[in-house]
Symmetry: C2
Subunit: 423 residues, 2 copies
């Protein structure tokens, strides 16, 4: 082996392609925004999907108690198996019985749902292949896939049909390099919840094209009255599915980083390779903290249904409140969600000719009213903004009030629009 002869005698160390291409769309957009709040008004951030930020939503004591106990066990300190402790995986299997037949063998514990998604995408797709992602959609898929050279292709959700999947568009996006379809249900950012029939329609597209599905169900059971949450996998007859979920949202502990993949594969299509591949990938960082793993059986069994019901009811009431208010904001069209913790709001940009696009709208909303909403571009969906519904009621009410004032101050009348259009 020959000794290295560096052409360049000066130091230069570059970052890898993976590192350079692992980009976080939301962060990049926000960093480029001019988002200084109005110093005279208290900032209200409706931007971060963290239900714990304001301190009004807390995990029930049963969840904390489970971890308090776990600390005292010396088995909560040692290494666990790469896929996670069997007792914890067994508990997830029982907790996930609504998804279909699940055993501990079908469960891989991960460091948060993001990690579950990372494993799911990277076990199914190779560099050069693509995965199909909903638009609008949560953009961690882009962050995770593009670094690995996996392309993202979008399929459209229909904003005027409760964000149903445009099935034709979905099928049209599929090509020979497509490795998986990603379905987020209930949806971030839309708050949509799909019906049994619609899920079956999506499954049919997947089945016809022999494509596995990654079902991002981190908002499972987060559905408002008159809606039903149905897990994709409960309906699948043949399509193999990797369902990603975790404690993050439902148990109000995003920081604990406890997520999981449930493998659904009735016809053994994933075979040994995908299961083994997931196991291989899990060995890279050895899964989530065993402190939480040891608490997981108790967490999943002891948390009372009343806790979940209360949280969902609170969010539903917040959604109704925000909808009732914002429907009065001139130039906005709020879309009532059916679940999750978000609401999408259309900004009729032609009514705000002052602003070039929705980015400028949210910038100015921030600088004038100190209310910060995420621009639709963060979800590849311009002309919309997303608000988070988990903030305390009074704060949400105040935010809506300020949004309405802002719109009133900047909207132009129909006559004015016609005038502008003429010039």
């Amino acid at each position: 082996m020959s000794r290295r002869s560096r052409r360049n005698p000066v130091w230069e160390v570059r970052a890898s392609t993976l590192a350079r291409n692992t980009r976080n769309l939301i962060r990049e957009i926000i960093e480029n925004l001019d988002v200084q709040p109005n110093p005279d008004k208290q900032l209200i951030a409706l931007s971060v999907g963290d239900p714990t930020t304001f301190g009004n939503l807390n995990p029930p004591d049963q969840v904390l108690q489970a971890v308090r106990e776990s600390i005292e066990w010396h088995t909560s300190r040692g290494y666990g198996p790469a896929k996670g402790h069997i007792e914890a995986r067994q508990a997830v299997a029982e907790y996930s019985a609504h998804q279909g037949h699940v055993t501990a063998e079908d469960v891989v514990l991960c460091s948060g749902c993001s990690h579950a998604i990372e494993l799911a995408v990277s076990v199914l797709a190779d560099s050069g292949q693509n995965v199909l992602v909903p638009r609008p959609g949560f953009m961690i898929y882009k962050t995770l896939a593009e670094g690995l050279g996996i392309d993202i292709k979008y399929y459209n959700l229909l904003s005027d049909q409760q964000w149903r999947v445009d099935l034709d568009d979905l099928e049209n996006q599929i090509d020979d390099d497509t490795a998986a379809i990603i379905v987020i249900n209930p949806s971030n950012p839309c708050g949509s919840v799909y019906s049994r029939e619609h899920l079956q329609d999506i499954l049919e597209v997947a089945s016809r094209n022999r494509l596995p599905i990654i079902a991002d169900e981190i908002y499972e059971h987060f559905v408002f009255s008159d809606h039903e949450f149905i897990s994709m996998s409960a309906l699948s007859k043949d399509v193999p599915i990797l369902t990603c979920s975790g404690l993050t949202k439902r148990f109000l502990v995003p920081g604990w980083r406890m997520g999981w993949i449930v493998i659904h594969d009735r016809n053994n299509i994933f075979g040994k390779e995908v299961r083994k591949g997931l196991n291989n990938l899990a060995t890279r960082i050895l899964g989530p903290s065993t402190l939480i793993q040891r608490a997981l059986p108790t967490i999943l069994k002891n948390t009372p249904q009343s806790f979940f019901d209360e949280v969902v009811l609170f969010i539903e009431n917040q959604a109704k409140l925000a909808y009732k208010e914002l429907v009065l904001a001139p130039g906005l069209r709020p879309i009532m969600p059916q679940g999750a913790m978000y609401m999408m709001i259309e900004i009729k940009t032609n009514k705000f000719p002052e602003f070039k696009n929705e980015l400028q709208f949210v910038e100015r909303l921030m600088s004038e009213q100190s209310v910060f909403c995420l621009p639709g571009q963060c979800f590849e969906f311009p002309n919309y903004m997303r608000i988070v519904l988990t903030v305390p009621e009074e704060i949400l009410r105040e935010a809506c009030r300020r949004i309405i004032i802002f719109c009133q101050e900047h909207v132009v009348s129909r006559e004015k629009i016609l005038e502008i259009d003429e010039n």
Copy 2:
């Protein structure tokens, strides 16, 4: 975009290259071993580098107390920044002052040291490049790199010179595609601890070749009497270094998955790109549990030095015990470690002609004496085996006793060897 026409009308879903190439050498070797213990003897596993397995080594109450308190804070449940909470990074910076000038900005919290290594390797090396890894050495580097298409090249450690780096060999391995040199000090599996002079020699090779170093110092401060631990980065004048460490070994909490990278870059060679790249990579799974992050400042500040001293003294005594015993085992050559928690033992395979290689030696040691040691092949170093020193004293004593019996039963005399050699 044209509709997909699958050539293959049957379902087939394969695992990605990354998933297939993420292979765990240790696991694969162990899975292929025939390792059934002797049913008449209690199994003694000297194989797993988990100091908590036997329950004789426990974190001090200060560490547990810090987490007990953290549970009660609602800030220990929300999302943290991708690199970790500033208070936790600040605490790591102070804890790492022996490494040189470190600020919170230089710290990236990770989900265990494995994750730190994953980020360090993947930020510096691209697919097609290589990183240099010590042989014998801990093989997570292989697991992590090869999945990403990064090649591993080995440089030799000298078994008869306290596992010093063969500097010529190191320099000879460097080629135009080399992206980084990895140095594990104190070493797993060797237990070697490098002197200031030797570290300087290694730095010189790196400097001359303009190569950054990844310093795996997860066993920092784990050194026996008459040895001194010196952090690589404390000596570097120009070579940029990513130091990987964590709570895992020193605080006896491997399952908690708390690790970190400290960036050392006096001359700003990593520039913005590598720092930004690390940040990008950290956003993929959002770091370690905030429950532990919030406890980290207290853990790092309140753990008494006496705790560390006791653990190291215990391991040193175990090393002396094992050495004293095993030096009497015919056909073995134990190598006294200077730190960490392991001992390497040469198996003079020509004295055990019954066994084809050290794999068969450890298999038979297991099936006859129910003692399980890791074969050297797990560290790319045949003809050796590694034992773990953290087991309780009585168990280690019994293990040594059995190893000696085993050797006595299987070793052949010098005369016999000569005889065999002649045939």
